[in-house]
Assembly symmetry: C2
Homo-oligomer: 98 residues x 2
Amino acid sequence: MGAVKIQDLKQIEKVSKALGDKHRLNILLHLTKKGGCAACSEIIDIIDLAQPSISHHVKILTEAGLIEAEKEGRNLKYTLNNNILDDYINFLERLKND
Amino acid sequence: MGAVKIQDLKQIEKVSKALGDKHRLNILLHLTKKGGCAACSEIIDIIDLAQPSISHHVKILTEAGLIEAEKEGRNLKYTLNNNILDDYINFLERLKND
DNA sequence: TCGTTGTTTCGATAAGATTCAAGACAACAT
DNA sequence: ATGTTGTCTTGAATCTTATCGAAACAACGA
């Protein structure tokens, strides 16, 4: 039950913002459904946006630390980062008062 | 482990957006510190914004369901809504893949 | 080398969010 | 009634974010 530091708050804010868009939520849900990772080209199929827009959303998710990109042969593969989600959930738990 | 409905997603998006601002996070942290509730006039003291801005932020938190207002004598008192936080945390848990 | 495929960056526009001064309201005290 | 105190709403300025076409880049195959 430690105090919340300012740096943490910035990260919390960033993650919250990243989660505050339906397209980005759908990307994350798709990753979950696929067992945690998926290629970028798959995402284009499920989300009705132009490719640069998807790239933009993926970038925001990456910068928040929610997903990580790695090379899989020729293409990129995105993976959910459970650690960040855990940190975020911990913060929310501390927010509750019980 | 049920499927995520569209209505849920809208609520998740709303809560995420409400959490995606440092002033609103500070309001919530203050409520936590105060044991779950605080008067509006207190919030003005701890956040360096004009009164209408604070009213705006409080409204967004209220519309997301994160806090609830009730009359306490002459003044309003705001209370954290743990249920919404629990729902939100549950969604995030389902996002993880383990 | 030349094209093909997958992805990012740039530039411009459109849409949304934040902020505050000013005015409006509501409840209580004098 | 009149004034005071605490809060909300309106309207306008400013800032941020989302979107897409076009251009650029990077990696691979023919």
